[in-house]
């Protein structure tokens, strides 16, 4: 009896001591994750949380160069065959060892049609297990961006998936819940201890991690706070240590606060408007029997009527780079010379609409998220006003991202706002996802306007395998210019994404806007 009590006392002492040593990083951003399934949703916030727990074969270092992660090395052993040596002695959070089977299993899993992350393994036909720690990749052709793609190919434990019946990717569109959409078992630096939707996610450092954390945060509490003012107040009052998704209007003031610091950086993301260019009649518009967005003149008119400088100055308070391309500076393929914005010209736009047969404009609904991108709803409101001035009658339908994304994925839209970040830092990722004719796989995975241009498709398919850098760059350039000149999308701007934190927090700014807690120090 006495022994038991002593043991209890010792245990509680230990627990207290443990608490005293824990270094907690409290991080607040705008959105919650959509799911914990690492192969289901290609969604930035979701990935930014899951990358703490799940790891890819290769990852980015601080400068976005590829470095070994679960693979220790790789070499090309044939024209379309690559050999990856896997790290030995790595354990998943549940203690099971990491082997080649897990890589093969994850490869099959991410390719299932219920998810939308196939792009990260596109171009890989097959994986072959050579031994427990060697895997061969059989490619469809030469693949210049494979390593960069693989940084978001997260490895899941096969044994765990079998045990929890999580072999299949969650069908997010139909609101399916599975064990893997609620639980996490990766190899990463942090365990996800709990997820209370819309409330908080608690991460705890993985003491058995194979790598060494550069920072000292042993616990990370992520809180999604939708309201801008509330999120900033939380930082000012000291309830959180780090805030991303800063409201533009507050950045200037946060910079002057002596208790805080602001880490500047731009994001590899383009904010744009997409239009249904497939249906013969728009679902949400007054025009019957035809689809005005199929007419390049109408798209051009929409593009010309956008006053990007006004959006930058008033709505974004300077925190945007007005853009005419679908990829942001810093991404391979971006060139200043081709980033041409159609000059703002309301009269010209009106004329174009009249030429296209809509002298009195038409009504249509612009779908818009209201908690995903910086000032998304405000930008959409401004766009509605700008388009009203050229005689169109757009209606704004803004909703939270959690409701918005299934709607967009189900093609239930006529015009929509989206932001596209390029995880691979190569233009192909954007072109393949947004401009290639839609298929069930990676090609056109987010081409929700269903643009289909055979010439463009040919260019995109060619650049997937072109190993001659010069030829490939020429293809990228031509494709980007085609998208620009055919006005397949209306790009608005590239986001600048400062992060604000307390003075005692140190971390590394990431152009993918996803803080990595392994870099975070709280002193």
């Amino acid at each position: 009896m006495i022994w038991k009590r002593l043991l209890l006392a010792a245990a509680s002492l230990l627990a207290v001591a443990g608490v005293a040593h824990a270094v907690t990083l409290r991080w607040a951003a705008q959105n919650d994750v959509l799911t914990l399934d690492p192969h289901s949703q290609n969604h930035a916030t979701t990935i930014s949380i899951l990358q703490h727990a799940y790891e890819p074969l290769v990852r980015y270092d601080k400068n976005f160069q590829v470095e070994p992660c679960l693979a220790t090395g790789w070499q090309q052993i044939g024209p379309t065959q690559w050999r990856f040596n896997l790290r030995k002695g790595v354990k998943f959070h549940d203690g099971s060892p990491f082997t080649a089977d897990d890589v093969l299993f994850s490869f099959d899993r991410i390719r299932q049609p219920n998810g939308n992350m196939q792009i990260y393994v596109s171009g890989i036909n097959e994986m072959k297990k050579i031994d427990d720690h060697t895997v061969d990749f059989m490619l469809a052709g030469p693949n210049p961006v494979m390593l960069r793609n693989l940084t978001i190919f997260f490895i899941m434990s096969r044994a765990w998936a079998d045990k929890t019946k999580s072999q299949n990717v969650q069908n997010y569109k139909d609101k399916e819940e599975t064990h893997a959409s609620r639980h996490v078992n990766g190899t990463g630096a942090y365990l996800i201890k709990s997820w209370e939707p819309d409330k908080r996610i608690v991460l705890a450092a993985n003491s058995n991690w194979w790598d060494k954390r550069e920072g000292n945060a042993t616990e990370v509490i992520y809180t999604p706070i939708k309201a801008d003012a509330t999120r900033v107040s939380a930082l000012l009052s000291g309830d959180v240590d780090l805030v991303t998704d800063l409201p533009t209007q507050d950045v200037a003031r946060l910079r002057q606060d002596p208790k805080l610091k602001v880490l500047d950086g731009h994001e590899n993301r383009t904010i744009f408007i997409g239009m249904d260019q497939h249906n013969n009649e728009l679902k949400y518009a007054s025009v019957k029997g035809k689809n005005p967005f199929k007419d390049v003149r109408v798209r051009r008119a929409l593009n010309m009527a956008v006053d990007r400088e006004a959006i930058k100055r008033v709505t974004m308070r300077g925190l945007s780079i007005p853009g005419g391309l679908m990829i942001a500076p810093g991404i391979h393929g971006y060139e200043k010379e081709i980033d041409r914005i159609p000059p703002f010209d309301a009269e010209g736009a009106k004329k174009l609409l009249a030429e296209a047969g809509y002298p009195n404009g038409f009504e249509f609904t612009l779908d818009c998220p209201n908690n995903r991108y910086v000032n998304d709803e405000e930008i959409c409101q401004a766009l509605v006003g700008m388009w009203a001035r050229i005689g169109l009658k757009p209606k704004l339908n803004a909703m939270p991202f959690a409701n918005y994304i299934p709607k967009i994925l189900n093609l239930d839209t006529s015009a929509y706002m989206l932001g596209w970040g390029v995880a691979t830092f190569d233009a192909l990722y954007m072109l393949q996802s947004l401009a290639r004719t839609k298929t069930t796989g990676a090609d056109g995975s987010f081409n929700q306007g269903r643009i289909s241009d055979p010439k463009l498709d040919a260019m995109i398919d060619a650049m997937k395998t072109e190993m001659d850098q010069k030829k490939r760059d020429a293809l990228i350039r031509e494709a980007l210019v085609t998208v620009r000149d055919r006005h397949y999308y209306v790009p608005l701007h590239y986001q600048l994404r400062p992060w604000a934190m307390k003075k005692n927090v140190t971390t590394v700014h990431r152009a993918n806007d996803a803080p990595e807690s392994r870099f975070a120090r709280v002193d």
Partner: protein
């Protein structure tokens, strides 16, 4: 002419008018309420801009401070919001929606509450027990929760593209449903008293239909307290609407009510654009306070024990 003079004379000598004259606060409240209602009613004529005309909006006018400050412009007296809408005009139009929704939902709540209360009190027995238990259950929830619930269900049940069109009716229904209980309880109490009085028994003896007795005989005698509740309820309904809109489930952002304006402005409070939220907030305070003061006064004036 003479009859009009007599009518005014009679109104002036009336107990209510007498009590009104004795309370300067109420006179002020009365004027303020009238001013608010007038401003709301005539918004399209007195507002300097039409904030709902998207084509007239100019984003480059956004965040103009009030006219008396350094960067202010004379054409935007109270400044502009983030979209370049004139704050004064938006308040006038917004008050219109707030008052309209408030009045309509009070009428709706009163209609349900009074009929259920009459039925409950007059019929008694099981019907009475049933209605009153429902009322008890509803009373245990805050009104805002019920309004949120109805609003949420309506949003899911109705197609998305209809949301904008039906937002205001849905709002009226949800606030109305959330507020009928007070009416029902009050009317039931008074009906219980009235139905045992001789005139009701007499009507019953001569064989009048129960519905006719309820409507023609009992109803007029229980309306006094209803009037008082309704006045105070208007203020509550306006606040409820503002709260719902503040939470983002009320009226659409392109047709803002006072609550929506306060919500939008709230985001800019820290960054120094105080006018976007402060002026709509002040307008809401003035409107609700004056209506409340009127209601308070009416309650005292109609209370025979305080006369």
């Amino acid at each position: 002419m003479a009859s009009l003079a007599r009518w005014i004379r009679r109104a002036w000598d009336h107990d209510l008018a007498w009590s009104l004259r004795r309370s300067p606060v109420t006179v002020v409240a009365c004027f303020l309420t009238l001013a608010c209602v007038g401003a709301a009613l005539f918004a399209p004529w007195i507002a300097p801009h039409d904030p709902f005309d998207l084509a007239a909006l100019n984003l480059t006018d956004g965040f103009t401070p009030p006219a008396w400050t350094e960067q202010g412009q004379a054409k935007f007296l109270l400044g502009t919001d983030d979209q370049g809408r004139d704050v004064l005009s938006t308040i006038l139009y917004g008050a219109r929606i707030s008052l309209g929704v408030g009045l309509a939902s009070v009428l709706f709540a009163a209609a349900i509450g009074v009929s259920l209360g009459l039925l409950s009190g007059y019929a008694g027995g099981r019907i009475d027990a049933f209605i009153m238990r429902i009322a008890d259950i509803q009373l245990s929830f805050p009104a805002i929760l019920i309004a949120l619930l109805i609003d949420g269900v309506a949003r899911v049940a109705l197609p998305t593209d209809a949301h904008d069109r039906i937002a205001i009716p849905v709002l009226i229904l949800s606030i109305g449903f959330a507020g009928w209980v007070q009416y029902a309880r009050t009317v039931r109490g008074s009906t219980l008293v009235e139905k045992n009085k001789e005139y009701v028994q007499a009507a019953r003896v001569i064989g009048r239909h129960p519905v006719a007795i309820m409507l023609r005989h009992v109803l007029p005698n229980v309306m006094g307290p209803v009037l008082v509740i309704a006045t105070i309820h208007i203020a509550t309904a306006i606040i409820t609407e503002a709260t719902l809109s503040f939470l983002g489930v009320g009226v659409p952002a392109t047709r803002p009510s006072l609550g929506t304006l306060i919500r939008v402005g709230n985001d800019f409070l820290f960054s120094g654009e105080w006018w976007i939220t402060v002026f709509p907030g002040l307008a809401l305070v003035v409107l609700v306070l004056s209506v409340n003061l009127l209601g308070d006064w009416l309650r005292d004036a109609l209370n025979p024990r305080l006369r």
